[in-house]
């Protein structure tokens, strides 16, 4: 039901933008990140890390933007924890709007999977995001801070999901006259399950190169 409501809202916004006959904006970027996954179960901690690569594309029309993102990588165990590595695959779809020049609000579903030879841990959640981004005076730089929280979440683990939330901050460089832009950022999200019996944290330091609006 929630899916239908959000989809209808997104289509309505996009439809109104199309009705206004505004120019279509396209944005895309490629992203490379070093990801660190930390899992804590009943006080026992394990961590894995590895490079992850992905990209995101957005189509904007009027005040509304529709975007899709995908990333994938292989995480290897650290000095402690599970002996085997796992693949991280993540995808998301979202609709965003920009009520203020520096504020962007977005919502949409995200799926994340940790794939091992033995099993796959699947996450599906709906998230709402708020992003503040502004230019630094007299420089070609912009800084941003983004916070999000899952509105609902499901995972194929025995523990129920308490909450999933995250954030991101970074700096964007858009050289004057250049079509490309560069973004250096740090993002983190944490999931708490079973009243604190289990938690998972994904952190990443990423470098993105994009074209269009950052």
């Amino acid at each position: 039901m929630k899916t239908l409501v959000l989809a209808a809202a997104g289509l309505t916004l996009l439809g109104s933008a199309v009705g206004a006959q505004q120019r279509l904006r396209a944005t895309g970027w490629g992203d490379g990140a070093i990801v660190q996954l930390g899992t804590q179960i009943l006080g026992a901690r394990e961590s894995q890390s590895g490079p992850v690569f992905g990209g995101e594309g957005r189509l904007g029309l009027g005040p509304v933007t529709l975007g899709v993102g995908y990333l994938e990588g292989r995480l290897q165990p650290g000095t402690s924890g599970t002996p085997q590595g796992r693949d991280l695959v993540e995808a998301r779809i979202f609709v965003s709007a920009r009520p203020l020049s520096w504020l962007t609000l977005s919502a949409g579903p995200r799926v994340r999977a940790f794939v091992t030879d033995a099993a796959t841990e699947r996450w599906v959640w709906w998230e709402g995001r708020a992003r503040a981004q502004n230019a630094l005076a007299s420089t070609p730089l912009q800084t941003y801070i983004e916070l999000w929280r899952a509105l609902s979440a499901r995972v194929n683990l025995p523990e129920p999901v308490d909450h999933v939330q995250g954030g991101e901050a970074g700096v964007v460089l858009r050289p004057p006259g250049a079509a490309l832009w560069f973004r250096l950022g740090y993002r983190v999200d944490g999931a708490r399950l079973g009243g604190g019996l289990r938690s998972e944290t994904v952190e990443a330091v990423s470098l993105a190169v994009g074209i269009g609006g950052p």
């Binding site: 420089t139 801070i145 952190e203």
Partner: protein
Amino acid sequence: MTRRLVQLLLASLLVLTVRGKVAAQQAATDLLAQGMRAYQSLDYDQAAAILRRGLTRTVGDTLSTAERLQALTYLGASELFRDRRDAALAAFRQIAATDPRYRPSEIIFPPQVTGVFGEARQQTKTVFFQVQQETEFRAKTEHFTARLVASSPHDVAVTITTGDGKLVRRLYDGPIADSLAVTWDGLTEERNPVQSGRYTLRVAPRAAGAGQLARQLSLEILRAKPDTQPWPAGAGLAEGTPLPLPSSSSSGPAVRSLAEGLAAAVAVVVLPSIVSHDAAGFKGRFAIAAAIGGAGIVSFFAQRSAPAVDAIAGANAAARAAARRRLEQVQQQNAQSAAEVRLIVRAGPATSVELGGGP
């Protein structure tokens, strides 16, 4: 036999009908020529009858103004020689009322005729308008001119009235001999520019009596839109819109940039503890925090030390002053144009109104 008689009757009827139609359709100019020939043959009764027929023709082929004046002259002369002096005076008055400058030829007509004609002209007190079809002028500083030609010297009152007869402006009150140029500056009696609308230029004899004629000329007056100049390019500069070059390096943007950079850097550092209490905290994030904080500091100093502020301010002040001068010049010219009311006067047909016979 009976059949032959009927055919004869029909043929006779046809001939009579055709002849009647031909007579009715006889050109007014032919009647004028016939009347003149009858006059020259001293057949004054016939001349008067034919000329009256030509003058009274109102449909189809009618006489031109010049032919009408000629016909009236011959009619007046014929009536005079028929000892009908009043009828002769009436014919000559019509001439004076039609064209005050017209005079009968002294070669064709004897002094007896021209003398009576002069008498009739003296008795007829009316004027004629000589006005341009359209006149455009600035109210108060320029004027509209109407030349009046009098049939005989007399005193006249010249006024501008509204369409329903209300007085707008008295233009002249006095004698007119042969002709007179009357001017109007487009103002009312209260010295305000007249509004758009239909007006009447009226010339009436001051000694109004029965049989006297007042002449009226219909005037359509329009107020033309003021001819203003366009707003000069760059006028916004003079009104305080943003300048083309920054004129100051206020500390506001610099401090804001520094705050934004430091806030983003702090966010990177504290995000793991906000999002997840169990986060190990990726050490690499401190490098990101340093980069973001450094960007904020760079922005702060870049904004604070924006160069050549005085030169930019000076250039802006000069541009602003020049723009203001241009704007004031145009504003002054436009205000002057707006204060000037331009009037367009279109003259309509002239009519005569008989005075002394009631309202």
